[in-house]
Amino acid sequence: MSDLMVEAEDVAYRYPFAEVPALEGLTFRLRKGEAMLITGASGCGKSTLLRLLNGLIPNHYKGTLTGALTVAGETCPVPMETLAKRIGTVLQNPDEQFFATTVEEEVALTLEWQCRPREEIRRRVDGALRVLDLTDLARRSVFTLSSGEKQKATLAAVLAAEADLVVMDEPTANLSPEATDELARLILRLKAHGVTLVIVDHRLYWLRGVLDRLLVLDRGHAVFNAERMPGGEDLLDVLAAQPRVADWGLRRVNVARPDLPPCDTFGAPAVEIRGLVFRHSKKTRLIYDGFSARIPRGTITAIVGANGAGKTTLARLLCGLAKPQSGEILYEGRALRRRDIRERAAFVMQQMDIQLFMRTVREELLFSAPRAVPRADREAEADRLLALFGLAHLAERHPQSLSGGEKQRLVVACALMKRPTLLILDEPTSGLDGRNMRVIAAQLAQFALDGGAALLITHDLELLELVAQCQLRIVEPKRKDPEP
């Protein structure tokens, strides 16, 4: 029996109504127990290839598929029902793939719909939870888990289903550096058990020593396709040595964890927090109990803390979106009403779709400017930001029609348009390729140079290494409580 898990021969795919193919001329092989990374700039066709592998194309997304593709011994097209038994998929956002409400039931769900006997389901679920150290969380609601725990729960479901091939779409986008390291170790363990893995990710550094094959796509074509030889050089180093690597818009292959000084001693504060006490409701535990900090002016500060420590909650408090039970938040030395705080702060949230309201990209920027600024000045500033963020050619497009990377750049530009005293960004570069990430990093650095205070909530080590100057550590990490 062949040990090939995936075999692609001159595969091409075009979405319905698309003028150009999303993928063209792809040829590669992947053996059982190997791990392959598919990377490339935004829009290069990574997600399309992943959909081909897990059967969503052509079962869910229609289009024209040519060439020969064999996955888990089945020649495509294969009915979803057949493929779903052998392939497990981990999406970027675990929330979007949960159907059950508790961890245990979520892990069991696929097996329940496979009509497995109850005893077998119990055995497999317990085994998967044990492997991922989730036994204590078995009865917890999935809504109360931290991002890292959610990602582990989705992996446990895939493990319990005993999938031969696991495909992961940006699995580290919401993970802390510690959880990312843990995921890398888990992949090695899965490989040792004969599981084949296909990982789609922009972040590269965490896969050192894990990969057997590396595929870089550029506008649907494979521009780098290499296999690791026994005892050979790590594929990431081979990639970094490629002469055209800078053109492919990739992230860096080597990223160090920055050692940042505490922000309290870093300069004059733009915002000061004194004795903050906060809990979501009387029934939930305290998230902040007498928390104090100073956020320096002209500096980019990273908020550091484990998944679920309360970083986003702090951002909401600093923006006047939540009211502390006690304590003070001083802007430029003054205690302000929450409405006035919201005028002086800008908050880039993780979810892009809900931050875009207007008919065109230009209108979106103009809508973000303070109303006191004269129209001519607002328009000049909008044009400047459109050019800086590489969005000038999209000025008349509807914001909701932009790609993920373009939306991310637009919401950051809108936040800067507000000319805030404090700019807070919650994971502004998750899911962004190297090129787009560097555009945002450059504009953040300029904002700080101009005297603004920026707070960065991110697990993106590369972004931290590029721009963060000091850190605000959430000293007492608490388990995440249910939102009110």
């Binding site: 969503l56 109850r118 389901i121 809900i354």
Partner: protein
């Protein structure tokens, strides 16, 4: 774990659904004040067993407020009528209508109370998973079960999106309050409809993709890891409920008719004949 959830877990969700359906049906049949009060009292005892006294009290206050509002509207409308159309014809109409409207206005509210009690008994400790589990065990057809599962999963996600959207709108210096919507209706539509529509469509797409990948809907009778248990308590509660409902129905059958309910309609029809 809260004490209330322990209590409610003692009863199967199917038992609570069955009681809810039976009580709703009986309350439609009843028209007499006595039987309706008895049904209200019995169902009140049933919901009080959940131990969630505060929520129950607030719900009852809301019903009282509705009742007071209705009485107020009736009284004010009669006063306005008197002021506008003073005369013999009006007085005759009032003499005919007033007893019917004010004398029996409490009947619909008495019908509402048992329904409120049984719905509270379900809602105070509602678990999407247990509900879906109950539907599975009732052998609900796949075409109904899968949309139900998707819907149950969609609701908390949608609530979260609304919360985030409210934050995003407030950061732009606007509000999602009713007052703001009345003052700037077009802006309110722009700030809510577009992002909500886009996000909802995306969520629907992601959920359908996830359902495909997990094979949700591919089996006629999926296994249930956590089987629902129909225990002795369920049996006892169902038997007691059946007896109480039967007794109340007999009481209703024995008392004279009132202007509301099926018996009163029959009586009036018989009178005409």
């Amino acid at each position: 774990m809260r004490a209330s959830s322990v209590k409610s877990e003692a009863l199967d969700i199917r038992t609570r659904l069955a009681i809810s359906l039976a009580v709703s049906g009986v309350s439609i049949y009843l028209s007499g004040t006595g039987p309706l009060l008895a049904l209200g009292a019995a169902t009140l005892l049933y919901v009080l067993a959940s131990g969630r006294y505060r929520v129950i009290a607030v719900s009852y206050l809301a019903v009282c407020a509705m009742m007071a509002f209705t009485v107020g509207v009736i009284v004010v409308s009669f006063k306005i009528g008197e002021w506008l159309v003073a005369g013999t014809a009006w007085e005759k109409s009032v003499a005919m209508l007033k007893p019917a409207m004010l004398g029996n206005f409490h009947t619909p509210f008495l019908r509402m109370i048992p329904a409120l009690n049984v719905l509270l008994a379900i809602g105070l400790d509602f678990s999407v998973q247990r509900f879906v589990g109950a539907m599975k065990s009732l052998r609900l057809p796949r075409v109904a079960l899968v949309p139900l599962m998707v819907f149950c999963r969609f609701v908390p996600e949608f609530v979260d999106v609304i919360r985030q959207l409210r934050d995003a709108v407030r950061m732009r210096g606007f509000s999602m309050s009713l007052g703001a919507a009345l003052v700037h209706p077009i802006q309110a539509i722009r700030l809510t409809v577009v992002p909500l529509t886009v996000r909802t469509l995306r969520m629907a797409d992601h959920l359908s993709v996830a359902a495909e990948m997990k094979r949700v809907g591919y089996a006629k009778r999926p296994t249930q890891l956590l089987a629902l248990r129909f225990g002795k308590a369920d049996f006892a509660v169902l038997v007691a409920a059946a007896h109480i409902l039967a007794l109340i129905c007999v009481w209703q059958a024995l008392i004279p008719a009132t202007p509301y309910g099926p018996r009163s309609v029959q009586t009036q029809e018989a009178r005409h004949e």
